[in-house]
Symmetry: C2
Subunit: 371 residues, 2 copies
């Protein structure tokens, strides 16, 4: 029996607008922005990983302290295996131990693992404190800088526990790419090629001409892909901030990609896994007539030139891989769903707000068997 | 050197409006609402605790299943000690294990611990799935039904890890209060008295006349306080959804309250702790002239009649309690801050958007020493 209904009217305009600053050596910009009240806070938790700590994070920490702020450094082990609830808890406890409360802001210095994890930590610390990303990898530039997706992995699925949380600002410091190992550049190129495939034919063709220049650290080429990565992702995200439909296109190559990454127990980097997933998608798409054999071959060729794998390594258990596909977040009512590129530079649309096609298990299993 | 700045414009209108339905036996309403697409989902995770499982949650689970939906039950141990990152993780893993992904919604059935924890689980599961609260305690009605605050406790602080997350709907089933032990009714009355103190003199005076009737389950009295609790909290929250200023007034009594709850290692219930905290606040407020001795005595008297403690138990280490005050989320730049009632039914304002006063440690230590 209803006695009365009390309506809580909660309507508001949310403005999550932020800038992505692309440049070389942006440490002073960061400190100046903090001085000018970017986060509204005077205490900072600098979160980084064991690789980036000595390269950039300690330097940034010192600069923040020299500007008169209080700042503490928190270091997680480098690698995708740190993107867990465990390390989220470790960071939270360390921050609380240092006396940080809601009066702090988080400065993430590192690649996608650091920015994903630190953004999630910031989102639930004191029910949300501001955060800033100082991205030091091409992968972070390509993948983690736009969209506000933060998350951790669990034993049963990658990126399924997390939240949407927009940073106050993102710094893409192209200078830091010079300290990246080749595999890291390659990893970032996987997402860059993916962006070309799904939404930027010009970017794809630029890469076909210039992919080797990225490995050489060519300034113009690095700037070009930093900007185009942001633009592709932004154009998608702006139209669909909550991943209800269009945003799924960014998942191109990630159905098989995420699964093979997990089944490899992270022997494959995220980028390597996405490369394999992108090829699997193109091959299945060719079967459906979404992409020509010629364009599919161009995709594989470009990924190879980006020093990425286009075959599934022998050590992968293919039956386990097929089973793992069902942990994909696009799964709906227990059915696998794939995003497909339409030739190069576009995706296939399957209905209003629907950019993913239901796939029978044996269809993708057949593709995987031959890879 | 800045090369270019890419602006991500993310502005939107968010409508988190929801209904709180107050009534008796609202199980059918819930199932009807789910049928009518309240959450937009067809798979449900019913989250409850070991006390409420047999009383109400299994029944609700069966009703949801009988309506043709898929639903799974997840049970945490009853008590504040379950409001942790550990049980959040246990729930997440169990949900993933059952194959639930972003296609599910969470139905929380229980008191404040269950609704706080389940709301947080829902907020980060698949980066956010909808949730509904079926509240079975007076405390949940008083404290957890309005405001969207979800959180867990950590060894170092209560409620510091969490998020703002609004439910799709809240059901306050007054019928369920009849199975509450007396201490639970008392606990809910602590927050109710607090609401009277800070924003509803009429509610306070109604309780002075009728507090015993709540323990007797008197229908009119239960409805009255359910509604007034919602109204007080809503009026505050509506004006300040992000707790930037006004919302801190809801923290009346919680500075000492939260601390004594933790230091007691949860031997004190949340309500008992808030009762002690409210008295500490009133005594300190009397010293500052914010409340008369007579009104302060009325507060203590009413809390006693609500079967709540107004003295600090002997087993509490008072030095540890004072130290613990610094984990309060209102602490700013290392300084303790208290909210104070102004007589009965109002709070003291200390400046624009500031409802908390900085307190020297020895001032509150002196009050605590005498309690």
């Amino acid at each position: 029996m209803i006695i009365l209904v009390f309506r809580c009217v909660l309507k508001k305009v949310v403005d999550d607008t932020y800038d992505i600053e692309i440049g070389r050596g942006l440490q002073d910009e960061l400190v100046n922005d903090l001085r000018n009240g970017l986060t509204g806070k005077k205490r900072f938790a600098v979160i980084t990983d064991s690789n980036v700590e000595g390269l950039y994070a300690r330097d940034i920490l010192e600069r923040i302290r020299n500007a008169g702020f209080s700042a503490e450094l928190f270091v997680i082990p480098a690698g995708e295996k740190s993107k867990t609830r465990h390390y989220k808890e470790v960071l939270e406890d360390a921050m609380l131990e240092k006396g940080l409360r809601r009066d702090c802001a988080v400065i993430a210095v590192g690649g996608g693992v650091v920015t994903d994890l630190a953004g999630f930590v910031a989102g639930t610390f004191g029910r949300g404190v501001p955060f800033v990303n100082y991205a030091t990898t091409l992968l972070a530039a390509a993948d983690a800088s736009v969209g506000g997706k933060t998350a951790v992995d669990t034993p049963l699925a990658t990126n399924l526990i997390g939240m949407f949380n927009q940073p106050e600002k993102v710094y893409l410091d192209i200078d830091t790419w010079k300290t990246l190992p080749k595999e890291q550049i390659a990893s970032g190129l996987a997402e860059t090629v993916k962006h070309g495939c799904l939404g930027d034919r010009e970017l794809f063709e630029y890469l076909e001409k210039n992919v080797e220049k990225i490995f050489e650290g060519d300034a113009a080429a690095c700037e070009y892909i930093a900007e185009h990565n942001c633009a592709v992702k932004y154009n998608v995200v702006m139209q669909d901030e909550r991943e209800s439909g269009l945003r799924e296109v960014l998942n191109l190559g990630h159905t098989v990609g995420r699964a093979v990454e997990t089944v490899s127990d992270y022997r494959l980097s995220h980028g390597e896994a996405v490369s394999i997933g992108t090829v699997a998608q193109a091959r299945l798409g060719e079967k459906y007539g979404f992409i020509s054999a010629e364009d599919r071959a161009r995709v594989e060729k470009l990924l190879e030139r980006a020093q990425l794998p286009v075959r599934i390594p022998d050590y992968i258990d293919k039956a386990a891989l097929v089973k793992k596909l069902y942990t994909d977040k696009k799964v709906r009512d227990g059915k696998l769903r794939f995003v497909f590129q339409k030739g190069i530079g576009e995706v296939v649309q399957f209905g209003e707000n629907n950019f993913a096609k239901e796939i029978a298990e044996d269809e993708i299993a057949a593709i995987i068997a031959l890879m």
